[in-house]
């Protein structure tokens, strides 16, 4: 486990230009940060040990929280999985008296039954603090009007940024998802400058704005926070270019509060993971061993400062890496790279491991590709077939059937070079795939075994 990085040398000039929400903790030196982490970890383990789930888990693994004296000891604690949260339903992981719990959220259930997480008032406040930090890191100020197009309710995406933006002092418009016409009208009428949106809905919104005869950049939206579904750098570029905004990646999941775990700063080069709130490890998903900084693996997170429901060594299933190099913004909290995919969204096609993100990266680097695509898996004569259905970008259509044949060939070759299998490509008219207003469903596995 590599815990130290080289001291950051940031000139005072840089520091002054960069805005912080809480400069002292955001730019704390590594030694100071590790000290805070250890103090908080000890307290969290003590609190966690009182819950039915961890009482049992610690006993089975012979863990005595009082004997954890260094951060390295954390390796002895067993991993917690999504399934552990499910079997602890409804209250097997609660570490405080029920009367001090003020909120619950549940995961979106993308991959199965939902998992529930609880918050005390302090947890909600600290969560908002993490989000506010991230928003300030991208240059958002109390002068901004924040239109939240993420779902409210049990999903953490909506309320998480809502509380963060309010704490920061923005005017918050709690639109939630969908209702595209009203979204556009409110951007115009209230001068929204910052939006929070899923990447797939952002692309749909841009098309709707154009269909109303408005050039999207003319709306004056300056920033977009993207999250809740995997997407590639090419998709971000597309949103930035078509919408005329700066798009920032944010990271989080309901099991760890929600959005706000990690956030990009203005440099857009990886997301700062707030290490005073979370102890982060990158492990080899097969062996569970810690990997050195820079290596790609599964992100494992431990709550350091959570009252209602502390979770230790949570296997996020998200694949990423640490970017240990210092960031020019002066923040010392390490960054994680763009989420490459999830250990559980890996497809096995003809015996080859393929991540949807690999396909998206290839597609979005081809200018003729439009805003939407689907991956369809089928089995023909006992062989796996991958069909990729791609919308054409209307601006890149030149009315030449050979151009389209060449394009299909180019896509096929580019994909084969990355995923080693040869998909069948179908070109579709722009806008012919169903628009997505929440999490986009892009993979359709129709193989029956």
């Amino acid at each position: 486990m590599s815990l130290f990085i080289a001291p950051v040398k940031i000139s005072n000039a840089t520091r002054e230009r960069t805005m912080y929400w809480n400069q002292e903790i955001e730019t704390i030196d590594r030694t100071g940060l590790l000290k805070i982490q250890l103090e908080r970890l000890k307290k969290a383990l003590e609190a966690g040990a009182a819950t039915p789930f961890y009482k049992k888990a610690f006993a089975e693994h012979g863990i005595d929280p009082a004997k954890i004296t260094t951060l390295d000891h954390l390796k002895d604690i067993p991993f917690t999985t999504k399934n552990d949260l499910r079997v602890s339903y409804p209250d097997g992981m609660i570490a405080v008296p029920k009367r001090s719990i003020v909120r619950m959220h549940a995961s979106s259930g993308t991959t199965g039954k939902p998992t529930v997480i609880f918050y005390t008032m302090k947890d909600v406040d600290e969560w908002a603090n993490q989000v506010a930090r991230g928003m300030v890191a991208t240059g958002t100020t109390p002068d901004d009007v924040f239109q939240n197009m993420m779902g409210y309710g049990l999903f953490t995406g909506g309320l998480g940024l809502h509380y963060g933006a309010e704490k920061l002092g923005c005017l918050v418009i709690p639109m939630s998802t969908g209702n595209t016409l009203k979204q556009i009208q409110f951007i115009q009428d209230f001068g929204s400058t910052v939006i929070h949106i899923t990447p797939s809905y952002a692309l749909h919104l841009v098309e709707e704005i154009r269909a109303h005869g408005v050039n999207p950049p003319d709306l004056g939206v300056k920033k977009a926070y993207l999250g809740a579904e995997p997407y590639s750098e090419g998709t971000r570029d597309k949103i930035q270019e078509q919408f005329g905004v700066n798009a920032y990646n944010s990271y989080g999941m309901s099991e760890m509060n929600g959005p706000g775990v990690a956030f990009e700063c203005v440099h857009k080069n990886g997301m700062h993971l707030w290490e005073d709130y979370y102890f982060a490890e990158i492990i080899d998903p097969d062996t569970g061993e810690n990997l050195p900084d820079g290596d790609e693996g599964e992100l494992v997170l431990t709550h350091l400062n959570r009252e209602a429901m502390p979770v230790f060594r949570y296997r996020t299933r998200d694949l990423t890496r640490f970017i240990p190099e210092p960031c020019p913004c002066g923040r010392t909290h390490r960054r994680i790279g763009r989420i490459k995919g999830r250990t559980d969204d890996m497809m096995i096609v003809s015996g080859v491991n393929v991540f949807p993100s690999q396909i998206e990266t290839v597609l979005m680097n081809i200018p003729e590709v439009g805003n939407n695509y689907q991956i369809v898996l089928e089995r023909e004569n006992n062989l796996d077939r991958m069909h990729i259905r791609v919308e054409l970008y209307s601006k890149m259509f030149h009315g030449d059937i050979r151009q389209l044949e060449r394009l299909k060939k180019k896509m096929g070759e580019a994909l084969r070079a990355i995923i080693t299998i040869n998909p069948k490509i179908e070109l579709l008219e722009p806008g012919s795939l169903p628009p997505s207003q929440g999490k986009a469903k892009r993979v359709f596995d129709n193989r029956s075994l």
Binding site: S394, F397, G399, D400, I401, E426, L427, E429, P430
Partner: protein, 142 residues
């Protein structure tokens, strides 16, 4: 130089209806239509009286459409009428990428419309050989 409207269309029922519906709303007159098909999708080519307006209307409706330069010439509607044109093109090594024709007046005039790499050179070759090259407005006033 005449223009043709080229539209990308998936090979499914209702596509021609959608395209022609957009043109109807703008009261755009279609002179000729042809479809080249490549299995899953095809390109619908239209000669219309107001090509730029047609493309704008189609795009506004979310349809991938574009304007292409074409060569349109008047030929005699009699046996050998098209042969004369083809000979000149062959002699000058001009490859016809895509073509269609229609008759204006039986036994008198027909129009031959085609796509080539170098539209200007082809127009020059044919007009030097005595053929009538049609301009945008001439083509639509037929």
């Amino acid at each position: 130089m005449p223009h043709q409207v080229s539209v990308f269309a998936e090979n499914r029922p209702g596509k021609i209806e959608r395209i022609t519906g957009v043109l109807l709303k703008k009261v755009i007159d279609i002179r000729a239509i042809t479809i080249s098909d490549s299995g899953d999708y095809g390109i619908v080519k239209l000669l219309v009286d107001r090509p730029q307006e047609a493309v704008d209307a189609l795009k506004e409706d979310g349809i991938a459409a574009t304007l292409r330069d074409i060569v349109a010439i008047r030929v005699k509607d009699k046996p050998g009428g098209l042969y004369e044109v083809a000979s000149i093109l062959t002699k000058n090594d001009v490859n016809v990428e895509d073509a269609y024709g229609f008759i204006i007046e039986r036994k008198k005039d027909a129009i031959f419309v085609f796509q080539v790499q170098d539209v200007r050179r082809t127009e020059k070759l044919l007009s030097e050989a005595g053929f009538t090259i049609l301009s945008d407005s001439e083509l639509y006033l037929l």
